[in-house]
């Protein structure tokens, strides 16, 4: 254990000093590209603002809630054109050009990973969390998915676990199971309880 502790300690120091070097490198690159006229700093602000405000898991939650309450829409998502169905409620674009929606049932539990980099459906889920981009998730989701699910506090019982490694340009959204006890809820009420992780497939949606 002492060894482990020392290792982590050193590691953090290393990261810290490297961080300031990284900061300098980013600043230098922005200054160079701005000076030469390739980049407008106001464009950088607008790009950050777009990804902070226009995309995120609230978008995906609206898609899920609509699928739970509108059978025709669900059919379009699962067996028609998922990209078009998602665009019809206003979510489209970069890293969501070619969408596939996977339905979780009591027999099949789908979860999504990108073992090669960190491909993720930006328009519906926003930018990926650090754990999704991390070596532990990317290495283990494919080989020991049930152990990973357990770390998320998720028990899928006897369901077959299907892990989707998004190695190409298809982007995956999981349609989680609608929890019992939500009969008669409006789409807005339902969207409130849909979590980001349930749309990656590392959690299930629970009624409050």
């Amino acid at each position: 254990m002492a060894h482990d502790h020392d290792h982590h300690h050193d590691h953090h120091h290393g990261e810290f000093s490297e961080l300031s070097e990284t900061e300098l490198r980013v600043r230098a690159l922005e200054s160079l590209l701005t000076d030469k006229g390739y980049v407008d700093p106001a464009t950088l602000d607008a790009l950050v603002q777009y990804h902070e405000e226009k995309i995120g898991p609230r978008n995906g939650a609206q898609v899920v809630a609509k699928a739970w309450t509108d059978p025709d829409y669900k059919e379009w998502l699962l067996n028609g054109d998922a990209s078009a169905a998602i665009a019809s409620v206003g979510f489209e674009g970069r890293q969501g050009e070619d969408m596939v929606v996977l339905e979780n049932t009591s027999e099949v539990h789908n979860m999504v990973v990108c073992t090669l980099c960190s491909c993720y459906p930006w328009p519906v889920l926003g930018l990926p969390p650090v754990w999704y981009k991390s070596a532990p998730y990317r290495s283990r989701a494919v080989s020991e998915p049930r152990s990973v699910l357990e770390e998320f506090g998720t028990d899928v019982g006897d369901a077959e676990v299907r892990v989707w490694d998004s190695t190409a340009e298809l982007r995956y959204l999981v349609l989680p199971m609608r929890p019992d006890g939500t009969d008669g809820w409006t789409p807005d009420q339902l969207a409130e309880i849909v979590t980001r992780n349930s749309m990656i497939g590392t959690e299930v949606v629970k009624a409050p």
Partner: protein, 212 residues
């Protein structure tokens, strides 16, 4: 890195922000703002991933983006390595162009994206239900066939249609459009006695597969 051991548990951060520091925001936005027309997504993936393994694992996600962007800018003659060094010492430079992506165009550019789907009539080599084996190729160049499926047998689950082939596209060799399939590999086929049941679905191009 699929199937590699020893990385420990998956740790979640509660109320995680999109960016953990201002430099992450800037590195992210600089990458999106400076790519248009000069290189493609496959080239930028290769620039990020083609690093010594120890360096790759030590880098944070946006550090990979930063180092990848520096490399692409120099390799594509947008800036020189001397200019990058100069800028780090505080040197300033004269304008040579005007920005292509202006703030008013950001929303439209992000919302239109850029699909890798190719509208061409290319015959599929495989059909749903067919048994296939992932080829044992380990090219030093860019590839999107994960190591853990190479040589393993699977079944075509569905045909996603025709897409750009990254192994060619990343190296300026054209689009070489071909079909991508979701291929189902049983957990036992991939992990033997250590398997936890179920299956892994991997999106693979025609050139990665042979009949089995």
């Amino acid at each position: 890195m699929g199937g590699t051991h020893g990385f420990g548990p998956v740790v979640q951060e509660i109320d995680e922000p999109n960016f953990h520091a201002r430099w992450e925001e800037r590195a992210f936005a600089l990458t999106l703002a400076s790519g248009a027309g000069k290189w493609n997504l496959d080239m930028s993936r290769f620039a990020r991933e083609n690093a010594p393994p120890a360096d790759y694992l030590a880098r944070s996600y946006y550090q990979m983006w930063l180092y990848g962007l520096e490399k692409l800018l120099v390799e594509n003659d947008v800036v020189t390595a001397n200019e990058v060094d100069g800028a780090r010492r505080g040197e300033r430079f004269e304008p040579v162009t005007a920005p292509g992506l202006t703030p008013d165009k950001v929303d439209r550019a992000m919302r239109s994206g850029g699909s890798a789907r190719v509208d061409e009539d290319v015959a599929p080599m495989f059909a749903a239900g067919q048994s296939v084996r992932a080829n044992v190729d380990a090219p030093p160049t860019h590839t999107r066939c994960p190591a853990y499926v190479r040589g393993r047998r699977g079944v075509i689950d569905c045909d996603h249609g025709v897409f750009i082939f990254p192994d060619a596209h990343a190296h300026g060799l054209g689009k070489k459009p071909q079909h991508i399939y979701a291929v189902r590999f049983e957990a036992e086929e991939l992990w033997g006695s250590a398997n936890q049941g179920g299956a892994v679905y991997v999106d693979l191009w025609d050139d990665y597969l042979s009949p089995a």
